[in-house]
């Protein structure tokens, strides 16, 4: 029980329009793991990740985080569980008009009441913490800049700094490198790896790139058409496993190109 930090039990998700997002997923994430979820767009990666901190509701099953059911929690209890689970996003999700400072401090709101946080009455320790987290992603000189003045890679690292303000036990990363160039992607992934190895933060990341998945993960799971198709430590993942996940694409591609050919002929 203690070594599992996230338990996903028989989780299914059916959207209002009838589309199946997740089909009976079972998964245990162990403390300190660097878990990577691979799969095609639309396979359910984001749906699964966003279910873990309940940004999306699930239709069936239960998710236990750190021994407590996030599925059954409400109000203050839910917010306290969420505080332990930080998240970074494909589009960074910074408030572009706000300063880097304010963006970072907003990661700490879970520890404050409405009045104090809204008025910006941060404690001295938290102000120092905000400088400290920014130093950890090597961007301290951008502290007073507006977020939209930064490059994509810098924005993602500010987002990591904001996530660190939560002092999380778990970090979810939803396609963290999809909007970045290959070189910047490596910088961001290295930051995540550092957090994983030096501070023992459990990482769950969605990645498109097979290469990045193999390089950083300790364990990889594959999703295809809302179902879990494999779940293996990185050493045991084979080419065949990836084909199983991405294989669909080949089929679709061929059927599509056949179609276009047919249309042309007629």
């Amino acid at each position: 029980m203690l070594d599992s930090i996230i338990e996903v039990k028989n989780v299914s998700k059916i959207y209002a329009n009838g589309v199946v997002g997740l089909k009976d997923i079972n998964l245990n994430v162990k403390r300190g793991e660097f878990l990577v979820i691979v799969g095609l767009s639309g396979a359910g990666k984001s749906t699964l990740l966003r279910a873990l901190n309940r940004l999306n509701e699930i239709s069936d099953g239960e998710i236990i985080v750190n021994g407590e059911s996030i599925t059954k929690s409400k109000g203050k209890k839910l917010r306290e569980i969420r505080r332990e689970i930080a998240m970074i996003f494909q589009s960074f999700n910074l408030v572009k008009r706000s300063s880097v400072k304010r963006n970072i401090l907003s990661g700490r709101v879970g520890y404050y009441n409405s009045l104090f946080s809204t008025l910006g009455l941060w404690s001295k320790e938290d102000k120092e913490r905000s400088v400290n987290v920014l130093q950890r992603v090597n961007l301290a000189d951008k502290y007073y800049d507006r977020a939209d003045a930064l490059s994509g890679g810098q924005q993602q690292r500010v987002a990591i700094a904001r996530a660190l303000m939560q002092e999380p036990k778990i970090m979810l990363a939803d396609e963290p490198t999809a909007s970045l160039d290959p070189a910047t992607s490596v910088v961001v992934m290295d930051d995540l790896l550092k957090l994983n190895q030096e501070e023992g933060i459990t990482i769950v990341a969605n990645l498109h790139s097979e290469e990045l998945a193999l390089k950083y993960a300790t364990r990889i799971i594959g999703l295809a058409a809302a179902e879990l198709v494999f779940d293996k430590p990185v050493e045991k993942v084979t080419k065949k496993d990836f084909d199983q996940v991405y294989g669909r694409l080949e089929k679709e591609k061929t059927s599509k190109s056949n179609k276009t050919k047919k249309e042309l002929v007629s």
Binding site: L55, R79, R82, N93, S98, R108, S114, S117
Partner: protein
């Protein structure tokens, strides 16, 4: 295969368009007939001559009257400012309750939207007349009118602005364990602040103009003075007032446009 698609007769000759055009012209003629409006009346009889006489008098403004218009002119601006400010502040929570990305229950949204829609349908002249009847002549009736008008306009503009914001920061804040107030303060408010200020200035502009009009029914400000002098057939004084209003409106529009251009 590689030919143009064939079109029906109706498509070819734009029958739909022709139909609507004929219908609109027809309705226009009927309405004009029923309301007995006649463009030619403008040129018939002594109308045009009368027009010339009044215009002629206005063209010789009585500049000695100028010092008397200062006070009501300032009153008009004050009315517009107070009205816009109070109305906009009340509009903020209502806009939050009307925006689908802030307020989840559809029932609440329909109620607040219904209220602000209803308020927007009330013509400001009517409101002013009612308030003058209740509270008597003077700027208070005018300010109440402008508060209600500004509220209706700002609530709509603001909730539409809130609905178009980037949803990402809301996700990020919720992830950090933020409550509703914190999500609004950190993720929503900074994203709509500039739009809010810009709309505020725009509403202020509109209010300056409409506060001169509602003054006409006795709701204070320069409009009230204008009505008085016209009743006394002092078109030379009316000329001064109209020129002053023109200058003020243009000045405020210019100022507001400048500030809004800086708000990006």
């Amino acid at each position: 295969m590689n030919t143009l698609p064939s079109r029906t007769f109706a498509q070819k000759y734009h029958l739909k368009f022709v139909f609507w055009l004929i219908l609109i012209v027809f309705l226009l003629l009927i309405s004009s007939n029923i309301t007995e409006s006649d463009l030619l009346a403008f040129f018939q009889g002594d109308s045009i001559q009368q027009f010339g006489v009044i215009l002629g008098k206005m063209m010789k403004p009585d500049w000695s009257f100028f010092p008397r218009i200062w006070e009501p002119l300032l009153e008009t601006i004050r009315m517009a400012l107070v009205g816009t400010l109070v109305g906009s502040v009340i509009a903020v929570p209502v806009a939050m309750l009307s925006a689908s990305n802030v307020t989840k229950p559809a029932v609440v949204r329909s109620i607040t939207r219904f209220i602000s829609n209803l308020i927007r349908t009330l013509p400001d002249l009517l409101l002013a007349a009612v308030f003058v009847a209740i509270f008597g002549f003077g700027p208070f009736a005018g300010i109440l009118t402008l508060i209600i008008f500004s509220f209706g306009q700002m609530a709509k503009l603001l909730y539409e602005a809130i609905e178009t914001i980037d949803k990402g920061p809301i996700d990020a804040l919720e992830t950090a364990g933020a409550n509703k107030v914190q999500v609004i303060a950190f993720a929503i408010f900074p994203q709509v602040l500039n739009t809010f200020l810009s709309n505020f200035l725009y509403t202020f502009e509109v209010n300056i103009r409409s506060s001169t009009v509602i003054g006409y029914v006795g709701a204070g400000g320069i409009g009230m003075l204008l009505q008085t002098v016209i009743k006394m057939f002092r078109y030379d004084q009316a000329g001064v007032i109209i020129l002053a209003i023109l200058v003020i409106v243009v000045l405020i529009e210019f100022l507001s446009n400048y500030v809004r251009s800086k708000l990006t």
